[in-house]
Symmetry: none
Subunit: 226 residues, 2 copies
DNA sequence: ACTGGTTTTCAGACAACTTTCAGCCTCGCC
DNA sequence: GGCGAGGCTGAAAGTTGTCTGAAAACCAGT
């Protein structure tokens, strides 16, 4: 679970990092708004924790910019300002939650859990799409009576596809979410895994297809007929 | 936007209904936990506002029961209890937000907007003109039941036409916006793509025509007749 | 060090897209 | 009607993006 923290108060940023890492989140921290936006635009994070008052670019504008680019990463605002109008502006700018400083770590963690739960569609043990089942525990891909094991990366790719089954996902998104922002992996890595997955989908006889949208990305579709 | 309110304090329930209706939500109110669960199980609501302390069945148990049935309707808890442990328990039982009484109607409304926004993130963007739809996400051109994929450049040309459907667009404008100012592309490139587009518009049986304005440019028009 | 599964890398084949060109058509003007 | 500039379009050639098999590199467990 990748979290981006954008917070200019270095003391607080460190404390947050510490708390989050203790709870097994992977944390990236940046200290100003422009960097925050740049990192967030990689679309590699599951949640963004955003201070409202930031150097260079404020939190509201960051969220607005992300949403304009259709990056839907859940955002939790942190703010010293308790004023009602700030809360409302924060939530209406596209954030998902708003917590005022000082806050209790326990509440922050609970709210993060609530946000991440919503992402994973509340089905902890398996994902469904058309005639296939992805077992999240074992990493097995099942269709009817047939089933086949997926490697870790295959699993990660298919999970992203199934969690966003109506949308096109770009190679850059896969790279950011699976290989990491800093990685040197190239488009062909994603292509290779798409190819592996198509072969396995064929092997278990599923009607599901991963369609290519040239220069855009990939999307899952169910093709009923043979 | 359908909201279910489960609240045993009749005075508060009425006030809530009133506020929500003023903001054009459709509201159903019930006064105890069992009824709340029954109504929620219909899966007909976009959001559920749930008091924690309820007769017959408490809020935590209602959410847990819903989630067990894979009903993912967002839940906002209302509670008189400000205690941290209650908030955490509420959020971890599967709720999406937690507000303590007394609360400000404005904040409640903002939090409802945040919850409902997240639901409808599937609103793909599209451009409309006469009987055609241009899917911005996938680059598909749709008319009635027929649809056809556009290449990147075809898409770019049509998008400019549809964004300025009343004006004439010059070839120079297309060249500058699509091929770039420095490019060596010539007028014939634009002509070629206009030709491709006309063929595809014909193929999907649209009434839309791209008309030529000699020495000026192109413009879209809808010609009702066959 | 060996093994088996996983991941990365590479190159050739392939398909889709783009450009180019030539011949034809159309319009407005003389 | 004849002419020329501007516009259209089919076909071919050129370019780019994607797919996939095979090999190499990697890695954990034995």
């Amino acid at each position: 679970m990748q979290i981006l923290v954008v917070e200019d108060d270095v003391r607080l940023a460190e404390a947050l990092t510490c708390i989050l890492q203790e709870h097994h989140y992977l944390v990236d921290v940046v200290n100003d708004g422009i960097q925050g936006l740049t990192y967030a635009e990689s679309n590699a994070y599951d949640i963004i924790i955003l201070d409202v008052m930031l150097p260079k670019m404020n939190g509201f504008d960051i969220v607005a910019a992300l949403r304009r680019q259709k990056i839907a990463t859940p955002v939790l605002f942190l703010s010293a300002r308790d004023a009602l109008s700030d809360k409302i502006m924060g939530l209406d700018s596209g954030a998902d939650d708003y917590l005022t400083k000082p806050f209790s770590p326990a509440e922050l963690l609970a709210r993060l859990r609530a946000l991440s739960r919503r992402q994973s569609k509340l089905c902890f043990e398996r994902l469904l799409f058309a005639d296939i089942i992805l077992e999240l525990e074992t990493g097995d891909l099942v269709c009817g009576t047939k089933s086949i094991h997926l490697s870790f990366k295959e699993f990660a790719v298919l999970k992203i596809l199934m969690n966003n089954s109506r949308q096109a996902i770009s190679k850059e998104t896969f790279l950011a979410k699976i290989w990491g922002v800093e990685s040197s992996a190239e488009d062909n890595n994603v292509e290779a895994y798409i190819s592996f997955l198509r072969k396995k989908l064929g092997f278990i006889g599923s009607e599901v297809q991963i369609v290519t949208l040239r220069k855009i990305g990939y999307r899952m579709e169910a093709h009923k007929d043979a």
